[in-house]
């Protein structure tokens, strides 16, 4: 008996949807890593290296630290969380969602004052900020983004906070802040050093001295889930290895 083609097509569809939605975590030795967007591309390189060195596979989920945190609280199936700050991992531990004692700084962020030029020829320094001969300085929103909070502290250290008040524009995160400067809309911006490495302009602008702001500590933490624990442990230890630290440093971060 032949079924009408419409019905058969529908059945095929149902099977396709069922297959497509079957959980990938069913595979053994896979670690699902939730990673802050600013670290996503270096995390891919790290995952490749880790997969080559071990039998484990890594699945990356990128998002903002705040959103990933909210998803983890609601039971998202992640094994490791690489946050862009130290606050969210600490809260997850105290809320019983992350393994106590597993928190570890995997990278320290640095800020660069940047004018959007990728040739690295424009000389920049704090005197440019003090001169005020620019329209807009883009920083990440200090209330939302760790790089924004650090940028705010830099302005306080340089005693320029009040003078520049009318010139500040805010990106929702460091990625949008970079876009505001790169697109030429803001003449200056305090962006992440790692972003300029990725853009092939690692020495562009002025590297803000680390004494100008509290350290931007990006912490990783092991999440409390039953499956995949061994692979997750292995991935976190790998992040502290010399190999991984060299990769992280080359990407424009400092390592502890």
């Amino acid at each position: 008996m032949t079924r009408p083609p419409g019905k058969r097509r529908f059945a095929t569809w149902l099977i396709f949807c069922a297959l497509a939605s079957s959980p990938a975590q069913a595979l053994a030795d896979e670690v699902v890593v939730a990673v802050a967007s600013n670290f996503a591309s270096i995390a891919e390189a790290l995952a490749d290296r880790f997969e080559a060195e071990s039998d484990h596979a890594v699945n990356l989920v990128a998002g903002s630290t705040g959103k990933l945190y909210a998803q983890i609280l609601r039971g998202a199936p992640f094994d490791v969380f690489l946050a862009a700050d130290a606050l969210r991992p600490r809260r997850l531990v105290s809320e019983g969602r992350a393994v106590e004692g597993s928190r570890r700084v995997y990278a320290l962020g640095r800020l660069r004052l940047w004018s959007g030029d990728t040739d690295g020829v424009a000389a920049l320094g704090p005197e440019r900020l003090a001169s005020g001969d620019f329209r807009h300085l883009a920083i990440a929103n200090p209330a939302l983004a760790p790089y924004g909070a650090a940028a705010h502290q830099v302005l306080q250290t340089l005693a320029l906070e009040e003078r520049l008040e009318g010139r500040l524009v805010f990106g929702e995160n460091i990625g949008q802040t970079y876009a505001l400067v790169a697109s030429g809309n803001a003449e200056l911006g305090l962006v992440a050093a790692s972003q300029l490495v990725e853009a092939g302009a690692s020495s562009a602008g002025w590297l803000v001295p680390r004494s100008h702001h509290a350290p931007i500590r990006q912490e990783g933490v092991l999440l409390s889930r039953e499956e995949g624990l061994e692979a997750a442990h292995a991935f976190l230890s790998f992040l502290a290895s010399d190999d991984a630290r060299r990769l992280i440093e080359a990407a424009g971060y400092e390592v502890p």
């Binding site: 705040g66 329209r135 807009h136 883009a138 929103n141 209330a143 939302l144 500040l168 524009v169 805010f170 990106g171 929702e172 949008q176 876009a179 505001l180 697109s183 030429g184 809309n185 803001a186």
Partner: protein
């Protein structure tokens, strides 16, 4: 409604933005809709598609391209900078420009439907009585499309109130200048200030709901009378 400790500035900025956007879109959207409703041109589907793009594009895509288009390095942004001495991004004018594109379909689509409903008959009758085309439009087509003008205006206004992705990209989130209601709500949620977020979000929800109920009630009555 008591606003408690909530800063009302974003509300005023948002209301100003929606008012300016709606008023300017009446001027820009009406001729576009009139042309679309009456043309037999082969490029009509293209123009129609362009006016409807903001409906289907994610606001971040629109915002991203506007950021490039409005930058002082681009012709439009440079023109604006020499004209006004201020950049188009990070300014209220820039927000109005972006919102006009973002809300364009909400103005144009109801008007196209209305003008098509008017048909050629009444306009040709007016013309045969000696009315110049603009007169025929103003005295025949507009009064016959009164309700749709109201619908288009209300939808444009309320759609602009809820705008988020585009203004986040091109506005720069400047307090007192480009921080609109939806961004203020987003900031409150992200920083866990849920009480303030609730006050603003509930206000927007109730207002938008009331507006839609009014529009649909009005629309229904119109249809009953016609049928």
């Amino acid at each position: 409604m008591s606003l408690g400790a909530v800063d009302p500035t974003p509300i005023w900025i948002t209301l100003q933005l929606a008012t300016c956007t709606t008023a300017l879109l009446f001027l820009v959207g009406t001729p576009i809709a009139w042309w679309l409703a009456r043309t037999r041109s082969r490029i009509r589907p293209v123009v129609e598609a362009v006016t409807s793009l903001p409906l289907v594009l994610p606001p971040t895509v629109l915002g991203f391209y506007l950021l490039i288009l409005m930058s002082p390095d681009a012709p439009l942004g440079r023109f604006w900078l020499t004209l006004t001495g201020d950049t188009l991004t990070f300014s209220f004018s820039g927000l109005v420009f972006a919102s006009m594109l973002y809300s364009l379909p909400f103005m144009v689509q109801p008007l196209v439907a209305a003008f098509e409903g008017v048909g050629r008959g009444p306009i040709e009758a007016a013309a045969s009585l000696g009315a110049p085309p603009f007169d025929a439009f103003l005295r025949v087509a507009v009064p016959l499309s009164k309700r749709s003008f109201l619908t288009a205006g209300v939808l444009t206004f309320s759609h602009t109130l809820g705008e988020f992705g585009v203004v986040l990209m091109v506005g720069g989130n400047i307090p007192g200048a480009t921080r609109v209601l939806s961004i203020a709500i987003y900031d409150h949620v992200e920083t866990l200030r849920y009480a303030e977020a609730h006050t603003l979000a509930a206000g927007l929800l109730v207002f938008s709901f009331a507006v839609l109920v009014l529009v649909y009630a009005f629309d229904r009555r119109a249809r009953v009378r016609v049928g």
